[in-house]
């Protein structure tokens, strides 16, 4: 285990020679041993093109590379931290929610419109993801930040999950999401329930939800 949760707001990462970690800049709380922190010019993996892609996509959260041997404590801004282990599948998460992740994971950017066209773009706007979102793929662990505690809801083909877009944190697996609207005449006259937009996730995987409707 690379990441160990010390308490709800802090994770301990073990760094070994030859293994790299990426973390958000300034998120290191303390470290033991010989560990170096180098800012990434590109803000992550890949060449110049993927860096430009991230800039355009506004998913270029400043990252740093953590190398060496020792243990590092990560935490940021008093947010709750959730460790997600990936075994070959893809995690979709907003870049600014990434606290730290293993270098074995492949970082990429996904266009929201690629899932459901225009509706996907609308969905991105509503859930605060914007037009793009960051993907992490492969085998490894990710530490994700959220406002309030995080819980995991499994998604199975028979049981789609509906999530408040503001409470959505991340999802992984083979999941299709679509925005379901329950707009009625009540919303038009300002007597809506406040839950007019919901994110419907279906397929195989899991979604992470925070116990707060506040964005980071």
């Amino acid at each position: 285990m690379t990441f160990r949760e010390i308490n709800s707001k802090m994770v301990e990462a073990t760094v070994m020679p030859g293994q790299r970690l990426f973390s958000q800049r300034g998120a290191m709380l303390a470290y033991k041993g010989e560990v170096s922190f180098t800012p990434n010019i590109g803000g992550g993996q890949g060449g110049v093109m993927s860096m430009i892609g991230r800039r355009v996509a506004n998913e270029d959260t400043p990252l740093m590379t953590v190398e060496g041997s020792g243990t590092v404590l990560f935490g940021h801004g008093g947010h709750h931290v959730q460790v997600i282990n990936l075994t070959g599948d893809t995690l979709c998460v907003e870049a600014d929610r990434l606290l730290a992740f293993e270098g074995t994971l492949q970082q990429g950017t996904m266009f929201m419109g690629s899932q459901g066209g225009v509706m996907g773009m609308v969905r991105g706007q509503i859930s605060g993801q914007g037009l793009f979102t960051t993907t992490l793929k492969g085998h490894g662990a990710v530490a994700v930040m959220a406002h309030g505690g995080v819980f995991e809801i499994p998604i199975t083909p028979q049981r789609p999950v509906h999530v408040d877009p503001q409470a959505y944190v991340a999802h992984h697996g083979d999941v299709r999401n679509k925005l379901s609207t329950a707009l009625g005449w009540r919303d038009m006259v300002g007597r809506g329930s406040g839950e007019a937009f919901q994110l419907e996730l279906s397929g195989h995987g899991a979604v992470y939800v925070q116990a707060s409707e506040e964005k980071l």
Partner: protein, 265 residues
């Protein structure tokens, strides 16, 4: 996470409130039996019983202040509670915990200390912004997220440091490794790539314990009063120091922020 039983929140009365212990993660209950506690202004949220809260500098408390309060310029931020009853302390929903010292010493960020028993002596640390408690007794401190105790040697982000106990020699540590070499040189020349935000830490070595809070969100700093303007006092500006950088001198690109700011002067 929550420990509430199914029947809703627990209701306390003067008998069931704990004595000198946590009510929950965010509230601490102090029992006074004719005794006294020092507490920071505004941290008392409720009390049962008969209590007086007196500002320090009151004539009657002079002796108490003389024996256990050694930050004269800092006195206006503190009050003395005396009487009998139970008093609840809390601070903006931060985690609150009590610590026992036995003939020990502990240095803590001034904003994090809520209250302490007069058997402890409060002194200004020579590290600006920190207070040192010496002696035997209990004190209550707040932290953003639970406090984590670590053993030196360790390097700590300045914002995550709550305090340290015993004597693990706090000092500054600068990482400049990534500024060397070809890429580092380019980075230093152009400023491209920026800083990692982690080039400056507090380093602790030696025997002792380091207290960390699990976040970098700081609590408002409490004024600890100015240090005497005296030669040799850190932050005192007493004598002309051999400061490596004159204020206002042009900074080289890539050089880390203002040294003065980093040293907290």
């Amino acid at each position: 996470m929550s420990t509430y039983p199914g029947a809703g929140p627990t209701v306390f009365d003067p008998m069931t409130l704990p004595s000198d212990d946590n009510v929950n993660n965010y509230t601490f209950c102090v029992e006074l039996k004719g005794s006294q506690w020092f507490l920071q202004k505004g941290k008392m949220i409720a009390y049962y019983g008969q209590m007086d809260f007196n500002g320090i500098g009151h004539g009657r408390l002079d002796r108490l202040v003389r024996t256990s309060f050694h930050s004269p310029l800092h006195a206006s931020d503190w009050v003395v509670a005396e009487g009998s009853g139970k008093m609840l302390l809390a601070d903006r929903a931060f985690d609150v915990n009590s610590y026992d010292l036995e003939n020990g010493n502990l240095t803590i960020r001034s904003g994090n200390l809520l209250a302490f028993q007069p058997t402890l002596a409060l002194k200004q640390s020579i590290v600006p912004g920190f207070l040192t408690l010496i002696g035997t007794g209990k004190f209550v401190a707040a932290s953003n997220g639970p406090v984590v105790f670590m053993e030196p040697p360790i390097r700590v982000d300045p914002q995550a440091l709550v305090g340290w106990a015993d004597c693990p020699s706090p000092c500054h540590h600068y990482d400049h490794g990534y500024m060397t070499g070809l890429m580092g040189g380019l980075r230093a020349m152009t400023g491209l790539g920026g800083a990692s935000g982690e080039e400056h830490q507090f380093e602790f070595v030696g025997a002792g314990t380091v207290l960390l809070q699990s976040t970098e969100l700081l609590m408002a700093e409490q004024a600890t009063g100015a240090v005497p303007q005296q030669a040799g006092v850190p932050g005192g500006h007493g004598a002309p120091t051999g400061h490596p950088q004159q204020p206002g001198a042009p900074r080289l690109p890539g050089q880390l922020g203002d040294l003065q700011r980093r040293f907290g002067l």
